[in-house]
Structure formats: C-alpha cells, structure tokens
Amino acid sequence: MGDDLIIKIDGLEETKKFGIKIGSLLSPKDILCLNGELGAGKTTMTKSIGLGLGVDDYITSPTFALINEYEGKYPVYHFDVYRLEAVDDLFDLGFDDYFFGNGVCIIEWAEKIEKLLPEERVIINISKGQKENERIVEIDGFGKSYERIVKELK
C-alpha cells in the first residue's frame, strides 16, 4: 500500500471541485472505489467526478440497477454494489467485462465486493467531518493510476 493521502473538504463547492479534479485525472481501465457510510456523499461525489469525465447526463445512484452506463470522454460505469454483500456467486456476475474493459469504473460500496476487485485501483474513503458539510477524504490504492492521482493532488 502506498501512503494514504488525507484531505479535508469544507462545503459543497469544494466537494464539487474535488470531484471534478479527480474525474479529470481518470482514464480508461481505471477503477475508482468509493467507500463511506450511508449519507457520506458517495453519489454526490460521483456526480462531480462525472462532470470531470465529461458526462452530460444526470448521474443517479444505481442502487437497483447495479450498474449505470454513461458516455463522457470515455465510457463511465457507475456501480452501486451495496446489495451484493451477502451473495455467493459473485464471480459469475459478468463484472470483468467492465473492470477490464475500455471505460472508467466508479464503484460505490466497493468494499462489499473486495474479493472481486482487480488489484490495481484507487480507493477513496469518505467520512463526515465535525460540521455538516465537512467531509474527510482518504485516498489509498495500488498501481500506476493511484500513484499518478496522488502525485497530482499533492
């Protein structure tokens, strides 16, 4: 594991700017894991990341769809795997076509399918801060993309 990077974000504007920045740094085959409790703001962050990736559409949480597909600069695959935690047959879900495909994968609740995830990925953990719109973002991960993003953010 590389060194964790911890960033404190204050307010919705900063959250949006941060998300857009992350989005602009992602490229095809990148996998971004978004973890955090209910209400931490994973989907909100995804919307800004989507903007950074050039996605025009309204981004909504794929709680029941599992995967929403968008077209930005690249194909963007937005996952919400919350409900797969208790599932046995994870490997047959056909996710590999996305993980190893030509787009960017953004996975909310990624920790629930830890065993399925490719090694090289960027992991963002969002937690609530002291104040209402304050968020603490921890960035971790493996691989070239992760290293590149951390370098840029510093």
Binding site: L38, Y58, T60, S61, T63, F64, A65, L66, R83, G94
Partner: protein
C-alpha cells in the same frame, strides 16, 4: 396487420402478438422477480442468462395462444432501449433473426414510448394529444404526447426515479423487494399527516422531479427515531412518504395539462399501478374536469404488447429499422 413484439429490457421476458396496434391476441410474460429477490434487485448477468433460456419458449407460447404461425406475422417489433445492455441484446438478436428469416420489417422501439402506448391497448378510444406521466423504477417523465409518434419531453427526474425512491424507502423499512406495492398497501392503513416530509417542487415553473431529498429525509427520520429508541409506525411512515411523492406528481401533471390546454392525463409505468396515485389523480381529475387514464396492472409492468403497439404506430408513420439495429441502453425520449 399482425405484429410480433419482443421485450427483454430488464428482468421480464415477454413476447406478444397484436392486431393493428390495439388488439392483443397474446401477451406472454415470464418474470424473474423471484430469482432476483435474493440479490435485492436485478443482477444484469443473471437476467441475461434467464432471457436466453426462456426466449424461444415465450415466443412459441405467444404464437400458440394467438393461434397464429410465423407466416401470419407482418412486422416484428423489439425494444431497442433503454434498459440493461445484455438483456436487450437477447430480444434484439431474436427479433433480427425472425425478421430476416421471414423477410418482414423490423421496428426498434423505445421502451418508454411502449409504456405510453400501453394505454392505447387499454383504452380503445384514447387518441393523442394528451399529457403523459410516466413513472417507474427507472424513469420519471412528464411528456406532452402530440401524436402517436410525436413526443415532447417536458420534465424528468434530476436524481432518483419515483419508483426507485419507493424501493429505497421500502428497503429502509425492512420490506421485501420490490417495495413499491408494499408501501402502497401499508399507506392505506396509516396516517398521511403523521410525519411532515418535504415536497420538493424545484424552481417555480419547473416540471422536473427530485426525489432524493425526500428519500434522505425519510432515512434521517428513521435514524433519529432509532437513536431516540422510539417506536416507528411503519404504516404512518409509508402513508406520509407516499403522500409527499404523490403531491409532487399530481401537482406537476395537472399544472402541465392546464398550461397546454389539455384535458387528458395518461399514466404509464410500474408506479401507475399505485392505488394511492390513481385515487389522487381521479379525485383531482373530477374536480378539474380532466380525464384520467391508466393501463391495467399487467400492462403497467414491462410487457411485449406495449412494444407491439408502439411498433405498429411507428411502422404506420413510415419508421423502419434495418437488420443492423443498435442496442441503446441509455435511450431517452
């Protein structure tokens, strides 16, 4: 004119035979709800596997029930999108094969248009123009339907679809998937004024929807009650939440009808089965002299007949697809 129509956009495999766009000779639907229940919702890969297992059986049943053979079919309709890519491709591949084999026209159909056309089947005398409120798990649209193949999208959701909000709140209340019908059932037994949930109308003239604020409000309420160790009356939560959604849907639909000078509002999509919504719409319709239409329960869910109807009207208007029809998982109106 006989249409054979295939619908596989999500977790229902369906094939229907229609006569002239409104008369249903058969509408065979195989639902996978039981299979996906374990996963709390549809899993695209599993849906696709089930479609390929079922599709030809479903097609055969639709022909037998309609008492027709392949040679009697004049056109083939199929859902082109929106929906799950893998699932849509099964229907599209089958439809292409049949259209080519029989050397008859293939018509790719927009699933959302299909929902609108379900009403032409249900109500033989219904003709455009009218306002259509399309609400389902995946979509929330307010549409000005000008003609059989002419639509103007006026309002849509900026975050969760109405049906999705129902399912999420239902899950938070511990109700099984799909949760919408359970909320509807419980709401009848509860007090809709028990809890004040927000009615998010957005900007003054907007016809768009936004349900995630309401959803968050309900989740916060449930959290607070838990922390205070207070008893949650599920029926009241269901009733109050449902009232909040319905207020928004009804207000906007009627306002749009008034603005366009139309006295017909048509409902479509899975949430159009919601008895609370139907009651509210009919009630206000009576007050304001507006006719309200909705499909029967079966036609509200995903089914081939509605696709057949849309295919027929599109074909009559001169639309035809070629055998290179692309799947369009994000197709909008």
């Amino acid at each position: 004119m006989l249409t054979l129509a295939i619908e596989t956009s999500c977790d229902e495999t369906s094939c229907a035979i229609l006569k002239d766009g409104r008369e249903v000779l058969s509408n065979i639907i195989s639902s996978q709800i039981e299979i996906h229940k374990e996963y709390g919702g549809v899993v695209p890969e599993i849906a696709s596997r089930k479609h390929i297992e079922n599709i030809n059986q479903i097609i055969q049943e639709s022909l037998e029930e309609a008492k027709v053979g392949f040679d009697d079919i004049d056109i083939v309709g199929v859902t082109q999108g929106p929906g799950l890519v893998g699932a849509l491709l099964i229907g599209i591949s089958s439809a292409k094969a049949i259209a080519y084999a029989l050397d008859i026209p293939l018509i790719g159909v927009n699933h959302i248009q299909g929902h609108i056309c379900a009403n032409y089947i249900e109500h033989k005398n219904l003709e455009p123009p009218f306002i259509c409120l399309i609400v389902s798990g995946g979509h929330s649209y307010l549409v000005h339907v000008k003609g059989y193949t002419e639509y103007k999208l006026i309002g849509q959701t900026r975050d969760d679809a109405a049906g999705e909000a129902f399912d999420k709140v239902a899950r938070a209340l511990g109700l099984p998937y799909p949760g919408g019908p359970h909320i509807d059932r419980l709401a009848k037994l509860g007090n809709k004024n028990a809890i004040e949930f927000p009615r998010v109308m957005l900007e003054k003239d907007s016809y768009d929807f936004s349900f995630s604020g309401l959803k968050t409000s309900v989740l916060n309420y449930l959290n607070q009650m838990e922390q205070k160790n207070e008893n949650i009356v599920v029926e009241d939560v269901a009733a109050s939440f449902q009232a909040a959604i319905l207020d928004v849907l009804v207000e906007k639909a009627f306002r749009l009808a008034k603005e366009k000078g139309l006295n017909k509002i048509v409902m479509a999509g899975g949430v159009a089965s919601n008895s609370g919504l139907r009651d509210r719409m009919f009630e206000k319709g009576q007050e304001e002299g507006v006719e309200i239409y909705h499909p029967s329960k079966v036609l509200c869910t995903d089914n081939g007949a509605m696709i057949g109807s849309a295919a027929y009207f599109n074909y009559k208007a001169g639309q035809k697809s070629d055998l290179g029809l692309k799947v369009k998982p994000n197709l909008g109106l």
